[in-house]
């Protein structure tokens, strides 16, 4: 745990250093740029609140990917599951008229249902036709993309709008905002606690983890791996769907074109950087959100374009993933060399 934290911090530091060199080569001032980047993402109540709010879809889709990868299924359908979750929550918000304390949980549930249904399609395709979820989830992303686009262009189209979008949902379904802070963070933290508990303390989570590490051993031990496969697909689909629901309920309060942005792929990337660890996903999710949030301010007061953050993200991923193994090797080799020298007669 400690080694992971240290290697993560060193990795981020090296990535920022490489980013600084790239900026220097292009004639920008890295100190000023990083100053602006973190000023607009971490220092101050409003920047911090924005970073937290923006981290929610990244972390939830990241958790979805982490739990799936660590349990075996290669669920890469978070983008589609997010969109379906968002659509389900939107439609619920358009047609249900309930008091706030009831409507919010109902919409959250609907968004999870939408995501789970979509990942469930992939699970059934595997169960019935032995199709690899690696392929089917990717293909279902495209179907979800076009299906939701159709849905907001025709049946749920807001006739007063000039581009594809739905009307706003019932205001009772809007997530409360306290000062600068949006309560979508509370929902995310609750979801994190639940999934952490399930994954690490419950019998089911134990079986998922062992199956992810060695499915033949799990099967011989009496674990019903096919049943667990379906459960994991549904749970991770629900997590991605929840991310979509929260995007609608916290932000524009409607489903508009391009709603999914790049959240889910960033989430998958965060899971990879965190090596499928749940706490790692949470921390890296916050860091990536800080970079993305600060990029707007950075563009405002420096000449560095916002796209630079994508470069920085890519460098961070590469440095951390490559450095993870390398740091261990370096430390181990140093210990070995010292030990050999001690033993020389």
């Amino acid at each position: 745990m400690q080694r992971k934290l240290i290697s993560g911090i060193i990795g981020i530091f090296i990535a920022l250093l490489i980013g600084a060199i790239i900026m220097l080569l292009q004639g920008y001032n890295p100190l000023q740029t990083y100053g602006a980047l973190f000023n607009f993402s971490l220092f101050g109540l409003f920047p911090l609140a924005t970073t937290l709010r923006n981290s929610v879809p990244l972390i939830l889709t990241g958790l979805s990917a982490s739990v799936a990868f660590a349990s075996g299924p290669i669920n890469l359908g978070q983008p589609g599951q997010l969109l379906m979750g968002a659509l389900f929550a939107t439609v619920g918000g358009l047609y249900l008229d309930l008091p706030s304390w009831l409507l919010i949980p109902v919409l959250l549930f609907l968004s999870m249902l939408g995501g789970a249904l979509w990942s469930g399609v992939a699970a059934m395709l595997r169960k019935w036709f032995n199709m690899d979820e690696f392929i089917t989830t990717l293909m279902l992303n495209m179907i979800a993309d076009f299906f939701t686009f159709w849905a907001i262009s025709y049946p749920f189209f807001d006739r007063s709008a000039y581009s594809p979008m739905t009307p706003q949902i019932n205001t009772n379904g809007w997530l409360p905002i306290w000062g600068e802070f949006n309560s979508n963070v509370i929902v995310m933290i609750l979801a994190f606690i639940v999934i952490y508990f399930v994954f690490n303390r419950l019998t089911a989570g134990y079986e998922w983890r062992i199956t992810g590490q060695n499915s033949l051993f799990a099967r011989l031990g009496g674990i019903k791996i096919d049943k667990n496969y379906v459960t994991v697909m549904l749970v991770t689909g629900a997590l991605a769907g929840l991310a979509g629901g929260l995007v609608v309920m916290a932000g524009p309060h409607r489903f508009l074109k391009g709603l999914g942005a790049n959240y889910a792929w960033d989430g998958v990337m965060i899971a990879v950087v965190a090596n499928n660890g749940l706490i790692g996903t949470l921390l890296y999710g916050l860091f990536f959100s800080a970079m993305q949030t600060g990029s707007l301010g950075m563009e405002l007061i420096t000449a560095v374009p916002r796209e630079f953050i994508q470069v920085l993200q890519a460098v961070t991923v590469l440095v951390i993933v490559a450095g993870r193994g390398y740091l261990d090797i370096v430390i181990d080799k140093t210990i070995a060399r010292r030990k050999a020298r001690e033993r020389t007669v």
């Binding site: 134990y206 099967r219 080799k333 050999a340």
Partner: protein
């Protein structure tokens, strides 16, 4: 005899802190067969890999004919006349014998094409020179494992290697094939080659070698003349204490029938019969062994019993419960299972020791969970793991450490502990001592005999005939998917069973 290679104060530490070879000094002479013996993990393979350039030593010096050398890779070692044959056969099955031998060092004609005629001639010359009985035009696919091993040796001789390192060459051979290999090795020695021979079969070592170096826990214990030592002395040096080679077991008194397999036939996807009308009965307090060359149906037998492949024809009963169509969890109520491959089937090596111990118990034993099986009872699992640690004398640091941090012997003890404490009436052991050192093997055998006293029905699949003769009460011989013999251990001998394994019928 003239000294060819000297290894001085060699230290090899595997990162971070496993001292594999600890200040070893030894020498190898021209024209000798020199055995390196030791338990698993004693460092014998590592020492040879250092010499061959596969591993780099951290401290020390290697002298070849008095000159210091340090090989960065095996290619450099081969260029200086040192070659190694690994335990696994590494040949291209679709190529012929001579093609495999010349691969990577092909003779070419003036426009750079492979000169096939000359290549064949060169290979044939080597075969004749050392009197290897080998058809150089046969495909590797069609020849036996013993012949493939000869090809590996010829591959090195073709490259004019004068020092041959063999890593447990007899492990893949049947008892009948071993003397032939030994004769060929002796012939090579008489031609002036130096043979370095890694093994832990002491009888073989005494039979074949001129000198023997004994290693234990990375250190060299001694180098002795083979004709001045004995099996007992070698074993004592290897293990560090006296080892009993005969188990003092009483004759078994089998009770009621526990395990019965009737008319099992398994046909694979390619419509080959892998098992044909196999009938096996095991009674309580009885150890029944299966002998057979690997690949004669053992794999399918184990998978059928465990429910990994569906049974289409046949009947499986344990304790009068019909398990033919039962799912794996249901079977596990009645069957304890130790697989032959710890990393693939017996454990999740990156998961903690604790998590590996809980497997199956977490479903069958209600103490392992609370809230009606929903949540794990961490406290109970820890107590249980501590019990296994004590009862099976496992050496472990912390039970939260990954399973792979344990040594091979300790891994097997944990697996045995987990499986035997399931308290199932039937115990299926698939090569339970594979890859273990002498001390651990002795422990496992004692444990199996203790299980027999506790009236369990034990079914043992083993490729090691000595093991079967040491502990089994009855030996069944499996040949091409059929049980060809059912012999009480005290009414047969290794030669008879060995012949049945190869030929499938009485001599």
């Amino acid at each position: 005899m003239q000294v060819l290679i000297e290894m001085k104060d060699i230290i090899k530490v595997f990162p971070p802190n496993v001292v594999a070879v600890d200040n070893v000094t030894t020498d190898f002479r021209i024209g000798e067969i020199h055995a390196i013996v030791g338990e698993n993990g004693a460092g014998k393979s590592t020492l040879m890999k250092v010499l061959y350039g596969l591993e780099q030593h951290d401290q020390g010096e290697i002298l070849l004919q008095g000159r210091s050398v340090h090989f960065q890779d095996p290619g450099e070692a081969i260029a200086r006349g040192i070659g190694m044959v690994h335990q696994e056969i590494l040949l291209i099955p679709q190529y012929t014998v001579w093609e495999n031998i010349v691969l990577g060092a092909e003779p070419v004609n003036f426009i750079g094409m492979i000169d096939r005629d000359r290549a064949r001639q060169l290979v044939q010359k080597k075969v004749d020179e050392f009197q290897f009985n080998l058809n150089i035009d046969a495909k590797i696919d069609d020849i036996s494992v013993a012949a493939a091993q000869k090809v590996e040796i010829l591959k090195l001789l073709y490259r004019n290697v004068s020092v041959l390192i063999l890593d447990e060459p007899t492990a893949v051979l049947t008892p009948q094939e071993i003397p032939q290999l030994f004769n060929e090795l002796r012939r090579l020695r008489d031609h002036g080659h130096t043979i370095l021979f890694i093994s832990h079969h002491l009888e073989e070592v005494l039979d074949l070698s001129d000198r023997i170096t004994v290693m234990r826990k990375g250190e060299k214990i001694a180098t002795v003349q083979a004709n001045e030592t004995s099996k007992t002395e070698l074993a004592q040096m290897m293990v560090g204490r006296t080892v009993l080679f005969t188990s003092h077991r009483e004759k078994s008194t089998p009770g009621k029938l526990i395990f019965s397999l009737e008319n099992l036939t398994v046909i694979d996807a390619a419509h080959h019969k892998r098992l044909e009308n196999v009938n096996i009965n095991v009674h309580e307090g009885e150890i029944v062994g299966i002998a057979g060359v690997e690949g004669n149906g053992q794999f399918e037998l184990v998978n059928s019993i465990m429910g990994l492949i569906p049974t289409k024809q046949g009947n499986l009963k344990v304790n009068d419960v019909n398990l033919t169509k039962a799912d794996i969890l249901e079977r596990r109520r009645y069957i304890s299972f130790v697989s032959q491959n710890r990393g693939k089937m017996g454990a999740a090596v990156k998961a903690s020791i604790l998590e590996n111990v809980m497997m199956t118990h977490h479903r069958l034993n209600p103490h392992f969970t609370i809230w009606k099986g929903l949540m794990l009872n961490d406290q109970y699992a820890r107590k249980f793991t501590g019990q296994i640690e004590q009862q099976f004398s496992v050496i472990m640091d912390r039970m939260d450490n990954p399973f792979r941090s344990l040594s091979g012997g300790n891994q097997q003890k944990v697996i045995l502990g987990r499986e035997l404490l399931l308290d199932a009436p039937f115990v299926l052991l698939d090569q339970p001592t594979r890859g273990l050192d002498v001390g651990s093997i002795e422990y496992v055998h004692e444990l199996i005999l203790k299980m027999r006293e506790q009236k369990r029905a034990i079914f043992l699949i083993s490729a090691d005939l000595e093991e079967l003769f040491r502990i089994a009460d009855r030996i069944l011989v499996l040949h091409r998917g059929k049980i060809v013999a059912d012999l009480p251990t005290d009414q047969t001998d290794i030669e008879e069973v060995g012949y049945l394994m190869l030929e499938g019928k009485e001599q």
